[in-house]
């Protein structure tokens, strides 16, 4: 387990549990990883616990959900020990999260500008004028051509790609060190997807942020991220460098890769993933890279 001071986030043995009528359901089971100033991808199918891992980092798991961890720290500061009031300082200011669908994450009855200004002034003191300046600057940073107009617009007047860029602008206004993006582009078309990713890419590069990209899209993660965690049934089954994802070893990762149709390799039948019980039972891979 790497534990040098360059790490922004260190997570050790993270569990997320939900009590149900039929007993405890473990959504995340003993996950350990760390994040530096890099683009870390978390991939897996629906129900693999990838979003829960992202939410647990911000302590956004609602009751009756239970989060436990041996360690979950930001710059060595224990996130688990923080009070709800202290966590509110962390959220947005230090760690920000971009959700999947802008339609459901923006307030429909507030203009875009008001929302970004609100996000900003919650974390930074300053005049309203400064907040407005910042909001316009952020909109420009996410390549919105006409920031003045978008500033006054309501969310329903935005297309999906615009909405997602607005979300990113809002999340970046307080200058966080870490951005968690949960399927930020799955509601978008491929070409818009490229634009949104390149904006995040640039920001990570320029500001030296850490980025966690949660996605089900293997191609996207392998082409965008530096490092990938592959999750299955609440645990990490494999970690690897993103550009080596095609050479992944674990049968689950291999199965996922083989079940994708490919433009360059036509085949008559796609391989169907045969799940094995042992994948579920083995303990989580410790992130060693």
């Amino acid at each position: 387990m790497p534990n040098d001071s360059n790490n922004l986030i260190d997570v050790e043995d993270l569990w997320v549990k939900f009590p149900t009528r039929t007993g405890m359901f473990d959504a995340v089971r003993g996950v350990s990883f760390s994040l530096g100033k890099e683009r870390l991808g978390i991939v897996g199918e629906s129900g693999s616990g990838k979003s829960m891992t992202g939410r647990a980092l911000l302590r956004l798991i609602r009751k009756p959900g239970i989060v436990t961890a041996k360690r979950m720290s930001l710059h060595g500061e224990d996130l688990m020990a923080k009070s709800e009031r202290q966590m509110r300082k962390v959220r947005g200011q230090q760690i920000s999260m971009v959700m999947q669908d802008p339609k459901f994450s923006l307030n429909p009855v507030m203009t875009i500008g008001e929302q970004i200004m609100e996000a900003y002034s919650l974390h930074a003191k300053g005049s309203k004028k400064a907040a407005k300046e910042k909001a316009l600057e952020m909109l420009r940073a996410v390549s919105i051509r006409d920031p003045e107009r978008v500033f006054r617009a309501y969310p329903h007047e935005m297309s999906g790609g615009m909405g997602q860029r607005v979300m990113i602008a809002m999340m970046l206004a307080p200058d966080p060190e870490i951005l968690i993006a949960d399927e930020p582009t799955s509601a978008l078309d491929v070409s818009v997807q490229g634009q949104v990713l390149s904006i995040m890419d640039k920001l990570v590069e320029e500001r030296g942020m850490g980025l966690i990209l949660i996605s089900h899209d293997l191609n996207l993660v392998s082409s965008f991220c530096d490092r990938v965690l592959i999750m299955y049934a609440g645990r990490i089954v494999e970690t690897c460098r993103a550009d080596q994802l095609q050479q992944a070893q674990h049968p689950y990762t291999r199965g996922l890769l083989n079940s994708l149709p490919r433009l360059d390799q036509p085949k008559r039948r796609l391989d169907v993933l045969q799940r094995e019980a042992s994948w579920r039972d083995a303990s989580s891979v410790v992130d060693a890279s």
Binding site: L197, S198, S223, L263, L270
Partner: protein, 255 residues
């Protein structure tokens, strides 16, 4: 012959200032037994073409000959015996309070079949579901199983043509592989003609021999799957779609 011939199809919504032209002069031909793909971004009009064929849009102009039937504003019941549609979201297209048995029986009854009790298990086994699924409700099924039920429902009247509207986009990749395999098998078994809409070029290239690329309601290019695999589209926009589908790259995103 059970092909599709669409000439100069125009579909619009609203009127006056609010008029939106969803499909503009679309012309495409699908031979009997062929599998044809429509790709494009959201709002490019690909699903609208399918809906126009099924009679689900109020206003359109142009000529459509589907399964030897020249389509007019009204579709005869016999039309739906030949042409069926599978929708995108299996969570939304099945009635939550109808069991699989009810869904399929009702469909069979409406198409005038008498031997419903024999046909339901046959339909289920066609789509790879055992008899145990017959009396389940949609919430007791996974996404892939639901889509199988939706496909079984579409197969009920023994159609010749299936219109597939993003049949796997709501599913995980491993489940997607199962459904795509099923669709390939069914096409072979029943000699079906497919017209498939998808935003995923890899899926379309796996399923289809001919592919039409749509942008802003227009068909900008029709190309064969071989040309697509060789990455040799003629139109600029198809090239752009192809490169973006390969994943993220810094150069292409900056364009």
């Amino acid at each position: 012959m059970s092909g599709i011939d669409i000439q100069k199809l125009n579909v619009w919504f609203g009127k006056g200032e609010d008029r939106v032209d969803a499909v503009i002069d679309a012309t495409l031909k699908v031979a009997s037994g062929e599998s044809f793909g429509l790709v494009g971004e959201s709002g490019s009009g690909k699903s609208t073409i399918l809906r126009a064929m099924m009679g689900l849009v109020p206003d359109y102009s142009g000529h459509m000959v589907v399964a030897d039937e020249s389509l007019t504003k009204k579709r005869a019941a016999s039309f739906y015996k030949k042409v069926q549609m599978v929708f995108q979201d299996p969570y939304a297209s099945l009635h939550p309070r109808h069991s699989v048995d009810q869904v399929l029986s009702e469909t069979l009854y409406l198409h005038g079949y008498k031997d419903i009790d024999q046909r339901v298990p046959k339909l289920l086994s066609d789509v790879g579901l055992g008899g145990a699924f017959r009396f389940r409700y949609p919430h007791q099924l996974s996404g892939g199983q639901r889509q199988r039920v939706a496909i079984a429902r579409a197969l009920a009247p023994e159609p010749k043509i299936l219109l597939l509207d993003e049949p796997t986009s709501a599913l995980d990749v491993s489940v997607q592989a199962e459904i795509l395999n099923l669709l390939v098998d069914l096409r072979e078994e029943h000699q079906l003609t497919y017209l498939m809409v998808s935003h995923d070029l890899a899926v379309v290239s796996h399923m289809c021999e001919q592919i039409a690329v749509m942008q802003h309601g227009k068909v900008v290019e029709i190309l064969s799957v071989e040309d697509m695999r060789k990455m040799q589209p003629r139109h600029e926009y198809s090239k752009h779609l192809l490169t973006s589908s390969l994943g993220y790259s810094r150069q292409s995103a900056d364009l």
